[in-house]
Amino acid sequence: MSRVVFLEDRCKGCLLCVAVCPSQILRPSGRSNRNGYEMVEMSPEGKCIGCASCAFMCPDVAIRVFRTSPAGKRRKA
């Protein structure tokens, strides 16, 4: 499964990523960063498809996307 990493000090809690994620696996984390913004997180049970929509939408370059290659997927299955 692919995964996303939120750079928490960059996140401003705008929630644009939450709105565009086709898998609907992003959510407000309930935790604030040092600028006082509520950061976003991926729900632990969420299945990320590595589409990078969230990162493309993010105005603050707060998201890194790691895509699992199809070969890797097959090995895991």
Partner: protein, 271 residues
């Protein structure tokens, strides 16, 4: 955190911070599209390997300190005069890639004459125009691009045709000028539109690199703060209210007919 940022076996990092964008956290409001526009410019300059000879002419507005974020050589220009300053920079150094980054108050109001004449002269520069239908920095006053009926601090009852006139369409105006090689309007409200905007910015810089004339990209952008709505709702507003008034698309592209010539030759020929 550092462990999380390393690719594990079978993984590939497919979205990273562009090297041409500084790591500084911007001063922009949450959900402001200036951040997306900056990233797209940085990504394209990196991809086309133009950053080392790029010179940005920053403008006045919320993006006034864009030179702290886009890591290329930069000049700051007085309000609205970015295209005039860029004209001088490019004529003095025709080997560079010169672009302006301007808001709609900056380019469409106080700087309209300078912008249109630089375009009419076919200066070999690129203008990135952020249309968010307000003066963001100064508190949300009416801009030339404000929609009819839109409430701003200077049109508290909504913009009225009889009193304030209608919105100015920059991409369409640019496309009417002989010196313009490329004019496109894009939007930053959705992933699909952001990808298209990246293609347009790439095209605009390629056209300058080939010395074909003035290139212009308008980006319909959200200003959640002065629109008094959350960023997700601001994207909906772009989709439902702005795009019908400001249709997206390529308004001019001479590349089909043009014969590519090197930049400094063209400048000599025109001066």
């Amino acid at each position: 955190m550092s462990e999380l940022l390393k690719a594990r076996a079978g993984e590939k990092l497919i979205f990273d911070h562009p090297s041409v964008l500084s790591e500084a956290v911007t001063h922009y409001c949450p959900g402001c599209h200036h951040g997306i526009a900056h990233r797209l410019v940085a990504e394209v300059l990196e991809e086309l390997e133009l950053a080392s000879r790029a010179i940005m002419v920053a403008s006045v507005g919320c993006s006034v300190i864009s030179y702290d974020y886009i890591s290329v050589d930069s000049v700051e220009s007085p309000h609205g005069r970015a295209c005039a300053v860029a004209t001088g920079v490019k004529r003095a150094r025709p080997d560079t890639i010169v672009f302006t980054y301007q808001g709609d108050g900056d380019m469409g109001a106080i700087g309209l004459a300078e912008s249109l004449h630089a375009a009419a002269r076919g200066e070999h520069i690129t203008a990135v125009f952020v249309n968010n239908t307000v003066y963001g920095m100064t508190g949300g006053q009416m801009a030339p691009t404000t929609l009819l009926g839109q409430k701003t601090t200077t049109t508290p009852m909504g913009r009225r045709m009889e009193l304030e006139g209608g919105p100015v369409h920059m991409a369409e105006m640019m496309s009417q000028l002989a010196g313009v090689a490329y004019a496109e309007r894009c939007s930053l409200d959705s992933v699909r539109h952001i990808r298209a905007a990246q293609d347009a910015i790439r095209k605009a810089f390629s056209i300058q690199a080939k010395g074909l004339g003035f290139s212009f990209v308008e980006l319909l952008s959200g200003c959640p703060t002065n629109w008094h709505m959350d960023p997700v709702r601001a994207n909906t507003r772009i989709r439902e209210e702005m795009i019908p008034v400001f249709p997206l698309g390529v308004y001019k592209d001479i590349t089909a007919q043009a014969v590519p010539v090197i930049a400094d030759k063209v400048v000599e020929g025109r001066s």
